[in-house]
């Protein structure tokens, strides 16, 4: 059965379904129990009572550690953070404790802890509300990292995260919340499986999270110039579906990584290294990386527009790789950050 629902509804469905299936699943965190229901993603939680969906004090590190303790003692916690940047307060519990707790118990304890964190540009959030950090978490053994870009993916990857025996970070993009898409009923989408978002033969674009929206737009425009772009959404940052990437680039011989993060020592470097190694001798040009500008995220729109990578950047990079003259994109209808989102958050 296929239905069209929003990304936010998909999150909501995943939670409701898992919580009905397993009464050990509970949801908690700052602002989790209030009437805003985390942008609506927690609608209908009343069904489960206040022990299974509740607001907490503001204490990120302790909240993540709390999830660890509940997880090893029989429950299945889902801890929500309205901004990825707040997880920087919780790095101690996440990295020093959660990531290795199973290992440190001699394999005797399981840590089925899911952490939902929201990322993404809205408006003028500036440098303390704009980090992605998936590269940082992927660097740490023991943590799985998921970054879904469609309702279908977020629904089933969140379900997989909740069912996983280990800690999983699910990174949701705020602007995707209102995006609608078709959702099929599936048995599951396993963590670690990527997806060909668009098949093409001329060049591969590997995009994360929101960058898939930008990549699709770029591909649509480039198609009018006769360029056939293949877009790969890895969906999980760690573990990574390396085969899918290698196959695509082996076919197209050209690759752009469009990551929603800084480049230096980031996920884009890992993907570029993978491709440089596995497609050695089969590349027409080095892998090109696109990501956050290497600076702090500004509030002003004029700067935000060039801090965040977008479809135009992808188009220009594709043209450069294919030795094409720059198209006229001045009349294209790009995603309009100026008018789509209304504040305050």
């Amino acid at each position: 059965m296929t239905r069209t629902i929003t990304y936010c509804q998909a999150i909501n469905e995943a939670l409701l379904e898992e919580m009905r299936l397993n009464d050990r699943v509970f949801v908690y965190g700052i602002d989790v129990g209030d009437h805003k229901k985390i942008y609506g993603s927690l609608n209908g939680m009343e069904e489960f009572g206040p022990d299974r969906c509740f607001s907490t004090p503001l204490c990120e590190d302790t909240l993540v550690g709390f999830g660890l303790g509940a997880a090893i003692n029989g429950l299945v916690p889902v801890n929500i953070h309205l901004r990825m940047d707040f997880l920087l307060l919780a790095m101690n519990q996440l990295v020093n404790m959660v990531a290795n707790y199973k290992y440190g118990s001699g394999g005797k304890l399981r840590v089925p802890l899911t952490i939902r964190a929201v990322v993404g540009r809205t408006w003028g959030q500036s440098y303390q509300h704009s980090k992605s950090l998936h590269s940082v978490f992927a660097h740490i053994p023991g943590l799985k990292v998921v970054m879904p870009s469609t309702p279908q993916d977020v629904k089933y990857l969140l379900k997989s995260a909740i069912r996983d025996e280990g800690p999983v970070l699910v990174i949701e993009h705020r602007l995707l919340y209102d995006f609608a898409g078709e959702v099929q009923s599936l048995p599951s989408i396993p963590l670690g499986s990527g997806r060909i978002l668009r098949s093409g033969k001329d060049i591969t674009v590997i995009a994360t999270s929101w960058m898939n929206v930008e990549a699709l737009k770029a591909a649509e425009i480039l198609e009018t110039a006769g360029v056939d772009v293949e877009i790969i959404d890895p969906r999980t940052i760690y573990p990574l579906d390396e085969e899918l990437i290698i196959q695509s680039v082996t076919k197209t011989r050209k690759c752009i990584v469009a990551d929603l993060d800084w480049l230096n020592c980031g996920f884009s470097a890992e993907v570029a290294t993978l491709i440089s190694e596995k497609c050695f001798g089969n590349l027409d040009s080095p892998v090109k990386r696109i990501g956050f500008a290497p600076t702090h995220c500004p509030a002003a729109r004029s700067l935000e527009d060039i801090f965040y990578p977008n479809a135009a950047d992808i188009i220009r990079a594709v043209e450069a790789k294919l030795d094409l003259k720059p198209m006229d994109i001045s009349r294209e209808d790009f995603y309009n950050h100026v008018n789509k989102f209304k504040g305050p958050f």
């Binding site: 805003k36 503001l58 408006w123 003028g124 702090h296 509030a299 002003a300 504040g343 305050p344």
Partner: protein
């Protein structure tokens, strides 16, 4: 004891600041729906007496830190609205050149050392800045403003402890509005009385729930002189009522998490209103006050006009002050 004229002058100064904040924020309420101030707005309405009382009491020897709810402290400290509005509009003439918006105001040259969108995060630097003042023996005093939500965070306890054990010249100003976003203190604090707990630290505690700016001013003065005498930090615990939603410029009494009745009771002692009435009681004429208010309103409107017509930051500024060069990508 201040003489009569002195008291009048003081109260006039205090009122001017209160009114500046109120009218600047009323202007924000009026213009925010135009969607040109693209920045998450956390309004100070209801709390003005705290920022004004404390900032005025500290005066030029004061240095200030606060949270994302930064308007009142910024305006009480700087008294200016041009760079303020320019920042809210994300313009290059803004207080921090359009980089920060409402949550990240800063004005080091007047002693406002910064605000932050991360709850409780200015407490540690405030303690460090106080240490620098102590070592340099420059007589300066730090005041750090934070909410009842910040008190939940480890940074609060660590900072309180560090300042207490190091005996640093710092004034902790807890602005308790009873909520962190929509969650009441009763759901977040595992204790009945924060002042009682803080009194266990080597730190003098002062508390009040007055909205009378003069009372807060005097309380802050007591706290400072206590601090100078005992060489210990002081802690001001002040209650107020947040008039608007957590973020944004609207009321939200229909959301169900708090009642309009309570709001109405606090509104009866609105800090701007009662200070205005006091001025009249102290002998200021209605006309004089109106003149003052008009001046301020005019200044605010003017700042908005200037902010609207100011340029956005040039794209060349993207990398300014980032301490980061990534040559390959430029």
């Amino acid at each position: 004891m201040r003489n009569k004229q002195g008291r009048l002058d003081l109260n006039k100064t205090l009122y001017r600041k209160l009114y500046l904040i109120r009218s600047a924020e009323n202007a924000i309420i009026a213009h925010y729906p135009e969607n040109e101030m693209k920045t998450p707005m956390h309004m100070s309405l209801g709390s003005e007496a705290i920022a004004v009382g404390v900032c005025t009491a500290l005066g030029k020897q004061g240095q200030f830190f606060c949270s994302y709810r930064s308007h009142a402290v910024y305006l009480a400290n700087t008294g200016e609205t041009d760079a303020f509005f320019a920042e809210l509009y994300g313009k290059s003439t803004g207080a921090v050149r359009g980089r920060g918006g409402s949550m990240h105001l800063s004005s080091p040259e007047t002693g406002f050392l910064g605000s932050s969108a991360i709850v409780a995060s200015t407490l540690p630097p405030a303690v460090g800045a106080a240490f620098a003042n102590k070592v340099q023996n420059n007589g300066k005093i730090i005041a750090v403003f934070f909410g009842d939500g910040a008190v939940d965070e480890g940074n609060f306890w660590e900072s309180l402890n560090l300042a207490s054990v190091m005996k640093l010249p710092i004034l902790f100003v807890c602005e308790d509005n009873g909520f962190a976003v929509h969650t009441p203190t009763s759901q977040r604090h595992g204790y009945k009385s924060l002042p009682r707990i803080v009194r266990g630290f080597q730190c003098a505690v002062f508390e009040d729930d007055s909205t009378d700016v003069e009372i807060i001013f005097n309380l802050a003065r007591s706290a400072i002189s206590k601090m100078r005498k005992t060489k210990k930090p002081s802690f001001l615990y002040l209650r107020y009522y947040r008039y608007l939603q957590h973020a944004g410029v609207n009321q939200d009494f229909d959301a169900g998490y708090r009642s309009r009745e309570k709001y109405k009771r606090w509104l009866e002692v609105d800090p701007v209103d009662i200070q205005r009435k006091k001025l009249i009681k102290l002998g200021k004429s209605e006309n004089e006050i109106k003149r003052l208010e008009k001046q301020i309103t005019f200044r605010v409107e003017n700042s908005i006009v200037k902010a609207k017509s100011a340029p956005f930051p040039d794209q060349k500024e993207l990398f300014d002050d980032s301490e980061f060069k990534f040559s390959r990508e430029e």
